[in-house]
Amino acid sequence: MEKHIDRIIAKIVITLISIYLAAPIVATIMYSFAKSWVNTILPDGWTFEWYLQLITNSDFLSALARSIILGFVTTIIAMCCFLPVVFYANVYDESIKAKLRFITVLPFTIPGIVLVTGLVRVYANLPVPQMLVLLLAISLLSLPVTYQALDNAFIAHDFRAMFEQALILGDSPIKAFVKVVIPNIRVGMFIAMLLTFTNAFGEYVLTNIILGGNYETLKIYMYRLMQSNGQASSVLTTVYFFFLAIISIIMIAIMKWQGSKKAEEVEDTKKL
Protein backbone atom coordinates (compact mmCIF):
# COMPACT_ATOMS: atom_id res chain seq x y z
CA MET A 1 0.00 0.00 0.00
CA GLU A 2 2.74 2.42 1.01
CA LYS A 3 4.77 1.41 -2.02
CA HIS A 4 1.80 2.28 -4.16
CA ILE A 5 1.66 5.81 -2.75
CA ASP A 6 5.41 6.19 -3.23
CA ARG A 7 4.99 5.28 -6.87
CA ILE A 8 2.20 7.79 -7.35
CA ILE A 9 4.19 10.58 -5.70
CA ALA A 10 7.23 9.73 -7.81
CA LYS A 11 5.14 9.82 -10.96
CA ILE A 12 3.64 13.17 -10.05
CA VAL A 13 7.05 14.67 -9.34
CA ILE A 14 8.47 13.40 -12.60
CA THR A 15 5.49 14.71 -14.53
CA LEU A 16 5.80 18.13 -12.91
CA ILE A 17 9.48 18.34 -13.69
CA SER A 18 8.82 17.27 -17.26
CA ILE A 19 6.15 19.91 -17.66
CA TYR A 20 8.41 22.52 -16.10
CA LEU A 21 11.17 21.67 -18.58
CA ALA A 22 8.99 21.14 -21.62
CA ALA A 23 6.67 24.12 -21.20
CA PRO A 24 9.11 26.82 -22.36
CA ILE A 25 10.08 24.71 -25.36
CA VAL A 26 6.47 24.08 -26.34
CA ALA A 27 5.59 27.72 -25.76
CA THR A 28 8.54 28.89 -27.82
CA ILE A 29 7.65 26.57 -30.66
CA MET A 30 4.00 27.72 -30.53
CA TYR A 31 5.06 31.34 -30.36
CA SER A 32 7.20 30.91 -33.46
CA PHE A 33 4.14 29.84 -35.45
CA ALA A 34 1.73 32.35 -33.87
CA LYS A 35 0.12 35.25 -35.77
CA SER A 36 -0.08 37.26 -32.60
CA TRP A 37 -0.23 36.10 -28.99
CA VAL A 38 -1.07 38.85 -26.55
CA ASN A 39 -3.35 38.59 -23.52
CA THR A 40 -4.81 35.25 -24.63
CA ILE A 41 -4.23 31.73 -23.50
CA LEU A 42 -3.71 30.46 -27.06
CA PRO A 43 -2.53 32.44 -30.11
CA ASP A 44 -5.02 34.06 -32.45
CA GLY A 45 -3.90 32.03 -35.44
CA TRP A 46 -0.99 30.19 -37.06
CA THR A 47 1.50 31.33 -39.71
CA PHE A 48 4.84 30.56 -41.38
CA GLU A 49 5.48 34.21 -41.91
CA TRP A 50 8.17 34.52 -39.24
CA TYR A 51 10.10 31.60 -40.68
CA LEU A 52 9.98 33.13 -44.14
CA GLN A 53 11.16 36.40 -42.73
CA LEU A 54 14.05 34.71 -40.96
CA ILE A 55 15.37 32.69 -43.85
CA THR A 56 15.28 35.66 -46.15
CA ASN A 57 17.01 37.88 -43.62
CA SER A 58 20.61 38.52 -44.69
CA ASP A 59 21.78 39.11 -41.11
CA PHE A 60 20.56 35.66 -40.20
CA LEU A 61 22.10 34.01 -43.23
CA SER A 62 25.51 35.53 -42.70
CA ALA A 63 25.40 34.71 -38.97
CA LEU A 64 24.54 31.13 -39.89
CA ALA A 65 27.39 30.99 -42.39
CA ARG A 66 29.81 32.38 -39.79
CA SER A 67 28.76 29.81 -37.21
CA ILE A 68 29.14 26.98 -39.71
CA ILE A 69 32.59 28.21 -40.70
CA LEU A 70 33.55 28.51 -37.05
CA GLY A 71 32.28 24.98 -36.42
CA PHE A 72 34.10 23.48 -39.38
CA VAL A 73 37.43 25.17 -38.84
CA THR A 74 37.42 24.40 -35.12
CA THR A 75 36.60 20.76 -35.83
CA ILE A 76 39.46 20.50 -38.30
CA ILE A 77 41.89 22.17 -35.91
CA ALA A 78 40.77 20.01 -32.99
CA MET A 79 41.11 16.81 -35.04
CA CYS A 80 44.52 17.73 -36.39
CA CYS A 81 45.77 18.54 -32.89
CA PHE A 82 44.16 15.85 -30.78
CA LEU A 83 43.93 12.80 -33.03
CA PRO A 84 47.72 12.32 -33.29
CA VAL A 85 48.06 12.84 -29.53
CA VAL A 86 45.36 10.33 -28.65
CA PHE A 87 46.83 7.89 -31.18
CA TYR A 88 50.30 8.29 -29.75
CA ALA A 89 49.05 7.85 -26.19
CA ASN A 90 47.15 4.70 -27.08
CA VAL A 91 49.70 3.11 -29.36
CA TYR A 92 53.07 4.07 -27.97
CA ASP A 93 52.89 5.36 -24.46
CA GLU A 94 49.96 4.43 -22.26
CA SER A 95 51.69 6.13 -19.35
CA ILE A 96 50.97 9.63 -20.66
CA LYS A 97 47.25 8.91 -20.61
CA ALA A 98 46.95 9.80 -16.92
CA LYS A 99 48.52 13.18 -17.59
CA LEU A 100 46.32 13.70 -20.63
CA ARG A 101 43.22 12.94 -18.63
CA PHE A 102 44.22 15.64 -16.17
CA ILE A 103 44.82 18.17 -18.92
CA THR A 104 41.54 17.38 -20.62
CA VAL A 105 39.46 18.28 -17.57
CA LEU A 106 41.18 21.65 -17.17
CA PRO A 107 38.69 23.42 -19.46
CA PHE A 108 35.96 22.28 -17.07
CA THR A 109 37.67 23.74 -14.06
CA ILE A 110 38.85 27.03 -15.56
CA PRO A 111 35.82 29.24 -16.17
CA GLY A 112 35.54 30.47 -19.75
CA ILE A 113 35.66 34.07 -18.64
CA VAL A 114 39.05 33.60 -16.94
CA LEU A 115 40.40 31.94 -20.05
CA VAL A 116 39.14 34.77 -22.23
CA THR A 117 40.57 37.52 -20.08
CA GLY A 118 43.89 35.72 -20.05
CA LEU A 119 43.87 35.15 -23.78
CA VAL A 120 42.89 38.72 -24.60
CA ARG A 121 45.57 40.12 -22.30
CA VAL A 122 48.32 37.89 -23.69
CA TYR A 123 47.49 38.19 -27.35
CA ALA A 124 46.11 41.75 -27.56
CA ASN A 125 49.53 43.25 -28.24
CA LEU A 126 50.94 40.42 -30.31
CA PRO A 127 50.52 40.28 -34.09
CA VAL A 128 48.28 37.23 -33.88
CA PRO A 129 44.92 37.48 -35.61
CA GLN A 130 42.09 37.55 -33.08
CA MET A 131 40.27 35.00 -35.21
CA LEU A 132 43.09 32.51 -34.74
CA VAL A 133 43.12 33.11 -30.99
CA LEU A 134 39.40 32.40 -30.94
CA LEU A 135 39.65 29.24 -33.03
CA LEU A 136 42.40 27.81 -30.89
CA ALA A 137 40.58 28.75 -27.69
CA ILE A 138 37.38 27.05 -28.81
CA SER A 139 39.29 23.95 -29.92
CA LEU A 140 40.87 23.84 -26.51
CA LEU A 141 37.54 24.24 -24.75
CA SER A 142 36.14 21.32 -26.73
CA LEU A 143 39.05 19.16 -25.57
CA PRO A 144 37.15 17.24 -22.86
CA VAL A 145 34.50 15.94 -25.24
CA THR A 146 36.78 15.52 -28.23
CA TYR A 147 39.38 13.63 -26.24
CA GLN A 148 36.87 11.31 -24.61
CA ALA A 149 35.15 10.45 -27.88
CA LEU A 150 38.46 9.81 -29.66
CA ASP A 151 39.90 7.82 -26.79
CA ASN A 152 36.88 5.51 -26.79
CA ALA A 153 37.45 4.84 -30.46
CA PHE A 154 40.78 3.17 -29.67
CA ILE A 155 39.40 0.60 -27.25
CA ALA A 156 38.02 -1.86 -29.76
CA HIS A 157 41.18 -3.19 -31.46
CA ASP A 158 44.87 -3.75 -30.83
CA PHE A 159 45.86 -0.65 -32.79
CA ARG A 160 49.49 -0.86 -31.85
CA ALA A 161 49.87 -4.31 -33.40
CA MET A 162 47.80 -3.27 -36.44
CA PHE A 163 49.88 -0.17 -37.03
CA GLU A 164 53.17 -2.00 -36.59
CA GLN A 165 51.95 -4.83 -38.80
CA ALA A 166 51.28 -2.33 -41.59
CA LEU A 167 54.84 -1.00 -41.19
CA ILE A 168 56.25 -4.50 -41.39
CA LEU A 169 54.20 -5.12 -44.53
CA GLY A 170 56.09 -2.20 -46.02
CA ASP A 171 53.97 0.90 -45.48
CA SER A 172 55.27 4.23 -44.26
CA PRO A 173 53.92 5.41 -40.88
CA ILE A 174 51.62 8.00 -42.46
CA LYS A 175 50.17 5.58 -44.98
CA ALA A 176 49.76 2.97 -42.26
CA PHE A 177 47.86 5.52 -40.16
CA VAL A 178 45.56 6.47 -43.03
CA LYS A 179 44.98 2.90 -44.22
CA VAL A 180 44.59 0.89 -41.04
CA VAL A 181 43.97 3.29 -38.16
CA ILE A 182 41.54 5.87 -39.52
CA PRO A 183 39.11 3.41 -41.15
CA ASN A 184 38.80 1.54 -37.86
CA ILE A 185 38.13 4.58 -35.69
CA ARG A 186 35.87 6.37 -38.13
CA VAL A 187 32.72 6.06 -36.04
CA GLY A 188 34.44 7.44 -32.95
CA MET A 189 36.03 10.14 -35.06
CA PHE A 190 32.68 11.08 -36.53
CA ILE A 191 31.12 11.40 -33.09
CA ALA A 192 34.07 13.47 -31.88
CA MET A 193 33.71 15.72 -34.91
CA LEU A 194 29.97 16.17 -34.39
CA LEU A 195 30.49 17.05 -30.73
CA THR A 196 33.28 19.50 -31.50
CA PHE A 197 31.21 21.03 -34.27
CA THR A 198 28.13 21.59 -32.12
CA ASN A 199 30.29 22.92 -29.34
CA ALA A 200 31.90 25.51 -31.60
CA PHE A 201 28.69 26.21 -33.49
CA GLY A 202 26.90 27.19 -30.30
CA GLU A 203 29.84 28.92 -28.61
CA TYR A 204 28.91 32.32 -27.18
CA VAL A 205 31.14 33.58 -24.35
CA LEU A 206 34.50 33.44 -26.11
CA THR A 207 33.24 34.64 -29.47
CA ASN A 208 31.37 37.54 -27.98
CA ILE A 209 34.28 38.78 -25.90
CA ILE A 210 37.14 38.17 -28.32
CA LEU A 211 35.48 39.22 -31.56
CA GLY A 212 32.08 40.51 -30.44
CA GLY A 213 30.23 42.60 -32.99
CA ASN A 214 32.97 42.07 -35.56
CA TYR A 215 31.95 38.50 -36.05
CA GLU A 216 28.31 37.95 -35.34
CA THR A 217 27.66 34.25 -35.04
CA LEU A 218 24.26 32.64 -34.81
CA LYS A 219 24.30 32.66 -31.01
CA ILE A 220 25.23 36.33 -30.83
CA TYR A 221 22.61 37.15 -33.42
CA MET A 222 20.11 35.15 -31.38
CA TYR A 223 20.76 37.18 -28.23
CA ARG A 224 20.55 40.44 -30.15
CA LEU A 225 17.27 39.37 -31.67
CA MET A 226 15.89 38.36 -28.29
CA GLN A 227 16.16 41.94 -27.11
CA SER A 228 14.46 43.42 -30.17
CA ASN A 229 12.03 40.96 -31.70
CA GLY A 230 10.56 38.26 -29.46
CA GLN A 231 8.77 36.39 -32.16
CA ALA A 232 11.73 36.23 -34.55
CA SER A 233 13.96 35.04 -31.75
CA SER A 234 11.51 32.29 -30.87
CA VAL A 235 11.68 31.14 -34.48
CA LEU A 236 15.44 31.08 -34.31
CA THR A 237 15.37 29.24 -30.98
CA THR A 238 13.04 26.64 -32.45
CA VAL A 239 15.25 26.12 -35.47
CA TYR A 240 18.29 25.87 -33.25
CA PHE A 241 16.55 23.44 -30.92
CA PHE A 242 15.66 21.09 -33.76
CA PHE A 243 19.13 21.36 -35.20
CA LEU A 244 20.62 20.16 -31.90
CA ALA A 245 17.92 17.52 -31.50
CA ILE A 246 18.73 16.06 -34.91
CA ILE A 247 22.44 15.94 -34.17
CA SER A 248 21.75 14.26 -30.84
CA ILE A 249 19.50 11.69 -32.48
CA ILE A 250 22.15 10.93 -35.09
CA MET A 251 24.71 10.39 -32.37
CA ILE A 252 22.46 8.21 -30.24
CA ALA A 253 21.58 6.14 -33.30
CA ILE A 254 25.25 5.62 -34.17
CA MET A 255 26.15 4.66 -30.64
CA LYS A 256 23.23 2.24 -30.39
CA TRP A 257 24.14 0.70 -33.71
CA GLN A 258 27.73 0.29 -32.59
CA GLY A 259 26.67 -1.10 -29.24
CA SER A 260 24.49 -3.74 -30.85
CA LYS A 261 27.29 -4.62 -33.24
CA LYS A 262 29.65 -5.12 -30.31
CA ALA A 263 27.11 -7.28 -28.51
CA GLU A 264 26.81 -9.39 -31.65
CA GLU A 265 30.56 -9.79 -31.81
CA VAL A 266 30.64 -10.94 -28.21
CA GLU A 267 27.93 -13.48 -29.08
CA ASP A 268 29.93 -14.63 -32.07
CA THR A 269 33.10 -15.18 -30.07
CA LYS A 270 31.15 -17.12 -27.47
CA LYS A 271 29.96 -19.47 -30.19
CA LEU A 272 33.52 -20.34 -31.22
Binding site: H157, D158, A161, M162, E164, Q165, A166, L167, I168, L169, G170, D171, S172, K175, V180, P183, N184, E265, D268, L272
Partner: protein, 340 residues
Amino acid sequence: MSSISLEVKDLAINLSGNQVIKDMNFKIKKNTLTTFLGPSGSGKTTVLRAIAGLNQKIAGKILLDDTEIQNLAANQRNIGMIFQSYALFPNLSVFENVAYGLRVRKEPKATIKEKVDAILKTVNLQDKEQSYPENLSGGQKQRVAIARAMVLEPKILLLDEPLSALDAKIRIELRNQIREYQQRLGITMLFVTHDQAEAMAISDEIIVMDNGKVQQQGSPLEIYTHPQNIFIAKFIGNHNILDAAQLRSLGVELAENDKSNFIIRPELFQISITGDSSDYMAVSGKVKNISILGDRFEYRFITENGLELKVEFLNQQQAFMIETAITFYVKKDNIERVGI
Protein backbone atom coordinates in the same frame (compact mmCIF):
# COMPACT_ATOMS: atom_id res chain seq x y z
CA MET B 1 76.17 -18.01 -50.03
CA SER B 2 76.35 -18.68 -46.33
CA SER B 3 73.93 -20.99 -44.61
CA ILE B 4 73.18 -18.39 -41.95
CA SER B 5 70.00 -16.38 -42.35
CA LEU B 6 70.06 -14.21 -39.25
CA GLU B 7 72.86 -13.30 -36.94
CA VAL B 8 72.49 -11.26 -33.77
CA LYS B 9 75.72 -9.86 -32.34
CA ASP B 10 76.16 -8.33 -28.89
CA LEU B 11 72.57 -7.18 -28.78
CA ALA B 12 71.68 -5.05 -25.75
CA ILE B 13 68.38 -3.30 -25.26
CA ASN B 14 67.41 -0.83 -22.61
CA LEU B 15 63.72 -0.06 -22.16
CA SER B 16 62.99 2.98 -19.98
CA GLY B 17 66.07 2.48 -17.84
CA ASN B 18 65.58 -1.27 -17.63
CA GLN B 19 68.36 -3.42 -19.16
CA VAL B 20 66.00 -5.95 -20.70
CA ILE B 21 68.45 -7.64 -23.10
CA LYS B 22 72.07 -8.11 -22.15
CA ASP B 23 74.77 -8.98 -24.58
CA MET B 24 72.92 -11.47 -26.71
CA ASN B 25 74.48 -13.56 -29.49
CA PHE B 26 72.97 -16.20 -31.73
CA LYS B 27 72.72 -17.39 -35.32
CA ILE B 28 69.83 -18.90 -37.20
CA LYS B 29 70.36 -21.21 -40.15
CA LYS B 30 68.47 -20.83 -43.41
CA ASN B 31 65.29 -22.82 -43.96
CA THR B 32 65.07 -23.96 -40.36
CA LEU B 33 62.53 -23.41 -37.66
CA THR B 34 64.15 -22.07 -34.53
CA THR B 35 62.21 -21.46 -31.36
CA PHE B 36 62.91 -18.89 -28.77
CA LEU B 37 61.94 -20.57 -25.54
CA GLY B 38 61.84 -18.75 -22.23
CA PRO B 39 59.62 -17.84 -19.32
CA SER B 40 57.37 -14.80 -19.30
CA GLY B 41 59.35 -11.58 -19.06
CA SER B 42 62.59 -13.13 -20.28
CA GLY B 43 62.77 -10.71 -23.22
CA LYS B 44 61.57 -12.82 -26.15
CA THR B 45 59.20 -10.23 -27.57
CA THR B 46 61.77 -7.50 -27.09
CA VAL B 47 64.34 -9.34 -29.22
CA LEU B 48 61.78 -10.12 -31.90
CA ARG B 49 60.75 -6.47 -32.07
CA ALA B 50 64.38 -5.45 -32.39
CA ILE B 51 64.88 -7.84 -35.31
CA ALA B 52 61.73 -6.51 -36.98
CA GLY B 53 62.83 -2.91 -36.45
CA LEU B 54 60.14 -1.92 -33.98
CA ASN B 55 62.54 -0.95 -31.17
CA GLN B 56 64.32 2.23 -32.03
CA LYS B 57 67.21 2.12 -29.61
CA ILE B 58 69.40 -0.96 -29.58
CA ALA B 59 73.11 -1.63 -29.22
CA GLY B 60 74.79 -4.34 -31.26
CA LYS B 61 74.38 -5.68 -34.75
CA ILE B 62 71.68 -7.59 -36.57
CA LEU B 63 72.67 -9.24 -39.84
CA LEU B 64 70.18 -10.66 -42.30
CA ASP B 65 71.76 -12.62 -45.16
CA ASP B 66 75.11 -11.13 -44.13
CA THR B 67 73.85 -7.55 -44.42
CA GLU B 68 73.58 -5.25 -41.43
CA ILE B 69 69.98 -4.21 -40.97
CA GLN B 70 69.92 -2.65 -37.50
CA ASN B 71 69.71 0.85 -38.95
CA LEU B 72 66.93 0.16 -41.44
CA ALA B 73 63.32 1.16 -40.73
CA ALA B 74 60.80 -1.61 -40.12
CA ASN B 75 59.28 -1.16 -43.57
CA GLN B 76 62.60 -1.77 -45.32
CA ARG B 77 63.79 -4.99 -43.78
CA ASN B 78 61.77 -7.58 -45.69
CA ILE B 79 61.01 -9.47 -42.51
CA GLY B 80 57.63 -10.98 -41.75
CA MET B 81 56.12 -10.87 -38.30
CA ILE B 82 53.06 -12.44 -36.79
CA PHE B 83 51.73 -10.88 -33.63
CA GLN B 84 50.10 -12.64 -30.74
CA SER B 85 46.84 -10.79 -31.43
CA TYR B 86 47.14 -11.57 -35.19
CA ALA B 87 46.68 -7.85 -35.94
CA LEU B 88 44.33 -8.48 -38.86
CA PHE B 89 42.86 -5.32 -40.31
CA PRO B 90 39.15 -5.43 -39.39
CA ASN B 91 38.15 -3.10 -42.22
CA LEU B 92 39.59 -5.35 -44.91
CA SER B 93 38.41 -8.72 -46.23
CA VAL B 94 40.59 -11.79 -45.92
CA PHE B 95 41.71 -11.31 -49.52
CA GLU B 96 42.61 -7.66 -48.94
CA ASN B 97 44.40 -8.47 -45.69
CA VAL B 98 46.59 -10.96 -47.50
CA ALA B 99 47.04 -8.66 -50.50
CA TYR B 100 48.06 -5.71 -48.32
CA GLY B 101 51.83 -6.07 -48.64
CA LEU B 102 51.65 -6.88 -52.34
CA ARG B 103 49.63 -3.72 -52.95
CA VAL B 104 52.20 -1.70 -51.02
CA ARG B 105 54.81 -3.14 -53.37
CA LYS B 106 52.62 -2.06 -56.29
CA GLU B 107 52.57 -5.50 -57.87
CA PRO B 108 50.31 -5.89 -60.91
CA LYS B 109 46.68 -6.81 -60.18
CA ALA B 110 46.86 -10.16 -61.90
CA THR B 111 49.96 -11.14 -59.94
CA ILE B 112 48.31 -10.14 -56.69
CA LYS B 113 45.24 -12.22 -57.44
CA GLU B 114 47.37 -15.19 -58.40
CA LYS B 115 49.64 -15.04 -55.35
CA VAL B 116 46.85 -14.42 -52.84
CA ASP B 117 44.75 -17.25 -54.24
CA ALA B 118 47.71 -19.61 -54.11
CA ILE B 119 48.63 -18.81 -50.52
CA LEU B 120 45.00 -18.93 -49.34
CA LYS B 121 44.82 -22.38 -50.87
CA THR B 122 47.96 -23.40 -49.01
CA VAL B 123 46.44 -22.37 -45.68
CA ASN B 124 43.11 -23.88 -46.70
CA LEU B 125 41.08 -20.67 -46.65
CA GLN B 126 40.18 -20.30 -50.32
CA ASP B 127 36.46 -20.20 -49.48
CA LYS B 128 36.92 -17.40 -46.92
CA GLU B 129 38.40 -14.89 -49.36
CA GLN B 130 35.53 -12.44 -49.01
CA SER B 131 34.93 -12.89 -45.26
CA TYR B 132 35.92 -10.27 -42.75
CA PRO B 133 38.16 -11.01 -39.75
CA GLU B 134 35.33 -10.60 -37.23
CA ASN B 135 33.58 -13.61 -38.79
CA LEU B 136 36.53 -15.98 -38.54
CA SER B 137 37.43 -18.42 -35.78
CA GLY B 138 40.68 -17.98 -33.87
CA GLY B 139 42.45 -20.66 -35.88
CA GLN B 140 41.28 -19.17 -39.17
CA LYS B 141 42.47 -15.71 -38.13
CA GLN B 142 45.82 -17.20 -37.33
CA ARG B 143 46.06 -18.76 -40.77
CA VAL B 144 45.14 -15.46 -42.44
CA ALA B 145 47.96 -13.80 -40.49
CA ILE B 146 50.36 -16.52 -41.61
CA ALA B 147 49.25 -16.21 -45.24
CA ARG B 148 49.58 -12.42 -45.13
CA ALA B 149 53.16 -12.72 -43.94
CA MET B 150 54.19 -15.64 -46.16
CA VAL B 151 52.83 -14.20 -49.40
CA LEU B 152 55.61 -11.60 -49.32
CA GLU B 153 58.27 -14.31 -49.15
CA PRO B 154 60.13 -12.60 -46.33
CA LYS B 155 63.74 -13.50 -45.66
CA ILE B 156 62.72 -14.58 -42.19
CA LEU B 157 59.36 -14.93 -40.52
CA LEU B 158 59.05 -14.02 -36.85
CA LEU B 159 56.16 -15.46 -34.87
CA ASP B 160 55.45 -14.15 -31.38
CA GLU B 161 53.54 -16.79 -29.43
CA PRO B 162 51.20 -17.24 -32.39
CA LEU B 163 49.20 -20.01 -30.75
CA SER B 164 48.77 -18.77 -27.21
CA ALA B 165 45.23 -17.50 -27.74
CA LEU B 166 43.97 -20.86 -28.99
CA ASP B 167 42.80 -23.90 -27.08
CA ALA B 168 44.95 -26.99 -26.64
CA LYS B 169 43.64 -29.10 -29.49
CA ILE B 170 43.82 -26.41 -32.17
CA ARG B 171 47.25 -25.40 -30.90
CA ILE B 172 48.67 -28.82 -31.66
CA GLU B 173 46.98 -28.96 -35.05
CA LEU B 174 48.18 -25.49 -36.01
CA ARG B 175 51.73 -25.90 -34.79
CA ASN B 176 52.06 -28.95 -36.99
CA GLN B 177 50.60 -26.98 -39.89
CA ILE B 178 53.06 -24.14 -39.34
CA ARG B 179 55.89 -26.65 -39.33
CA GLU B 180 54.54 -28.15 -42.53
CA TYR B 181 54.32 -24.78 -44.33
CA GLN B 182 57.81 -23.98 -43.15
CA GLN B 183 59.24 -27.17 -44.58
CA ARG B 184 57.16 -27.17 -47.75
CA LEU B 185 57.85 -23.54 -48.67
CA GLY B 186 61.39 -23.48 -47.29
CA ILE B 187 60.92 -20.50 -44.98
CA THR B 188 63.26 -19.50 -42.18
CA MET B 189 61.19 -19.08 -39.05
CA LEU B 190 61.88 -17.75 -35.58
CA PHE B 191 59.08 -18.91 -33.36
CA VAL B 192 58.57 -17.56 -29.84
CA THR B 193 56.92 -19.67 -27.18
CA HIS B 194 57.03 -20.28 -23.47
CA ASP B 195 55.71 -23.81 -23.92
CA GLN B 196 58.56 -26.34 -23.92
CA ALA B 197 56.44 -29.11 -25.40
CA GLU B 198 55.59 -26.87 -28.35
CA ALA B 199 59.26 -25.99 -28.81
CA MET B 200 60.30 -29.65 -28.66
CA ALA B 201 57.66 -30.73 -31.13
CA ILE B 202 58.36 -28.41 -34.04
CA SER B 203 61.91 -27.06 -33.83
CA ASP B 204 65.11 -27.74 -35.66
CA GLU B 205 66.85 -25.68 -33.01
CA ILE B 206 65.85 -24.22 -29.68
CA ILE B 207 67.31 -21.10 -28.14
CA VAL B 208 66.53 -21.11 -24.43
CA MET B 209 66.59 -17.65 -22.97
CA ASP B 210 66.17 -16.24 -19.52
CA ASN B 211 66.73 -12.87 -17.98
CA GLY B 212 67.71 -11.22 -21.25
CA LYS B 213 70.39 -13.77 -22.10
CA VAL B 214 70.78 -16.87 -24.25
CA GLN B 215 71.12 -19.82 -21.88
CA GLN B 216 71.63 -22.55 -24.45
CA GLN B 217 71.16 -23.16 -28.14
CA GLY B 218 70.84 -26.59 -29.66
CA SER B 219 68.60 -29.24 -31.14
CA PRO B 220 65.58 -30.24 -29.05
CA LEU B 221 67.24 -33.53 -28.18
CA GLU B 222 70.50 -31.90 -27.13
CA ILE B 223 68.71 -29.46 -24.91
CA TYR B 224 66.53 -32.14 -23.40
CA THR B 225 69.29 -34.62 -22.72
CA HIS B 226 72.15 -32.23 -21.94
CA PRO B 227 70.72 -29.11 -20.33
CA GLN B 228 73.63 -26.81 -19.53
CA ASN B 229 72.32 -25.51 -16.23
CA ILE B 230 69.71 -26.05 -13.58
CA PHE B 231 67.42 -23.39 -14.98
CA ILE B 232 67.23 -25.15 -18.35
CA ALA B 233 66.85 -28.55 -16.72
CA LYS B 234 63.91 -27.33 -14.69
CA PHE B 235 62.35 -25.44 -17.57
CA ILE B 236 62.69 -28.02 -20.30
CA GLY B 237 61.69 -31.22 -18.61
CA ASN B 238 60.48 -33.02 -15.58
CA HIS B 239 63.99 -34.09 -14.60
CA ASN B 240 65.14 -35.16 -11.14
CA ILE B 241 67.74 -32.67 -9.99
CA LEU B 242 70.16 -33.80 -7.27
CA ASP B 243 73.17 -32.15 -5.69
CA ALA B 244 76.42 -34.03 -5.03
CA ALA B 245 75.50 -34.90 -1.42
CA GLN B 246 72.17 -36.34 -2.43
CA LEU B 247 73.76 -38.44 -5.17
CA ARG B 248 76.39 -39.71 -2.72
CA SER B 249 73.62 -40.75 -0.34
CA LEU B 250 72.33 -43.02 -3.11
CA GLY B 251 75.69 -44.80 -3.17
CA VAL B 252 77.41 -43.08 -6.09
CA GLU B 253 81.08 -42.33 -5.48
CA LEU B 254 82.08 -38.72 -6.18
CA ALA B 255 85.22 -36.71 -5.54
CA GLU B 256 85.34 -35.06 -2.11
CA ASN B 257 85.18 -31.51 -3.49
CA ASP B 258 82.59 -32.22 -6.19
CA LYS B 259 79.93 -29.51 -5.94
CA SER B 260 78.11 -30.21 -9.22
CA ASN B 261 74.43 -30.82 -9.72
CA PHE B 262 73.13 -33.84 -11.52
CA ILE B 263 70.01 -34.72 -13.42
CA ILE B 264 68.36 -38.07 -13.80
CA ARG B 265 65.57 -38.16 -16.35
CA PRO B 266 62.48 -39.95 -14.99
CA GLU B 267 62.17 -42.23 -18.04
CA LEU B 268 65.67 -43.70 -17.51
CA PHE B 269 64.77 -45.82 -14.49
CA GLN B 270 64.61 -49.56 -15.06
CA ILE B 271 63.25 -52.44 -12.96
CA SER B 272 65.94 -54.92 -13.97
CA ILE B 273 69.51 -54.79 -15.17
CA THR B 274 71.37 -56.31 -18.03
CA GLY B 275 75.14 -56.85 -17.86
CA ASP B 276 77.45 -55.63 -15.12
CA SER B 277 75.65 -54.49 -11.96
CA SER B 278 78.51 -52.07 -11.12
CA ASP B 279 77.39 -49.97 -14.13
CA TYR B 280 74.15 -49.25 -12.31
CA MET B 281 72.96 -47.22 -9.38
CA ALA B 282 70.29 -49.07 -7.40
CA VAL B 283 67.69 -47.18 -5.36
CA SER B 284 65.27 -48.91 -3.05
CA GLY B 285 62.17 -47.40 -1.55
CA LYS B 286 58.40 -47.13 -1.79
CA VAL B 287 55.94 -45.83 -4.35
CA LYS B 288 54.22 -42.86 -2.79
CA ASN B 289 51.99 -41.62 -5.55
CA ILE B 290 50.98 -42.53 -9.08
CA SER B 291 49.62 -40.35 -11.89
CA ILE B 292 48.18 -42.12 -14.87
CA LEU B 293 48.95 -39.99 -17.93
CA GLY B 294 47.37 -42.32 -20.45
CA ASP B 295 50.38 -43.46 -22.39
CA ARG B 296 52.56 -43.65 -19.27
CA PHE B 297 52.61 -43.75 -15.50
CA GLU B 298 54.37 -41.16 -13.44
CA TYR B 299 55.40 -42.23 -9.94
CA ARG B 300 56.61 -40.29 -6.98
CA PHE B 301 59.07 -42.56 -5.30
CA ILE B 302 60.60 -42.19 -1.82
CA THR B 303 64.01 -43.78 -1.30
CA GLU B 304 64.97 -45.45 1.95
CA ASN B 305 66.88 -42.37 3.03
CA GLY B 306 63.94 -40.08 2.33
CA LEU B 307 64.79 -38.64 -1.09
CA GLU B 308 61.85 -38.08 -3.45
CA LEU B 309 62.33 -39.06 -7.10
CA LYS B 310 60.16 -38.87 -10.21
CA VAL B 311 60.02 -42.11 -12.15
CA GLU B 312 58.15 -42.80 -15.38
CA PHE B 313 57.21 -45.97 -17.18
CA LEU B 314 55.31 -46.59 -20.37
CA ASN B 315 51.86 -47.99 -19.89
CA GLN B 316 52.86 -51.48 -21.00
CA GLN B 317 52.49 -53.49 -17.86
CA GLN B 318 50.60 -53.53 -14.60
CA ALA B 319 51.15 -50.32 -12.64
CA PHE B 320 52.90 -50.49 -9.25
CA MET B 321 50.53 -49.97 -6.37
CA ILE B 322 51.05 -47.25 -3.81
CA GLU B 323 53.26 -48.36 -0.89
CA THR B 324 54.87 -51.10 -3.00
CA ALA B 325 58.49 -51.61 -1.92
CA ILE B 326 60.70 -51.77 -4.96
CA THR B 327 64.23 -51.27 -6.30
CA PHE B 328 64.89 -49.21 -9.43
CA TYR B 329 68.10 -49.08 -11.40
CA VAL B 330 69.69 -46.27 -13.39
CA LYS B 331 72.75 -46.63 -15.58
CA LYS B 332 75.49 -44.45 -14.10
CA ASP B 333 76.32 -43.16 -17.60
CA ASN B 334 72.83 -41.70 -17.75
CA ILE B 335 73.36 -39.47 -14.72
CA GLU B 336 74.07 -36.11 -16.31
CA ARG B 337 76.30 -33.54 -14.67
CA VAL B 338 75.10 -29.91 -15.09
CA GLY B 339 76.39 -26.47 -14.16
CA ILE B 340 74.76 -24.35 -11.52
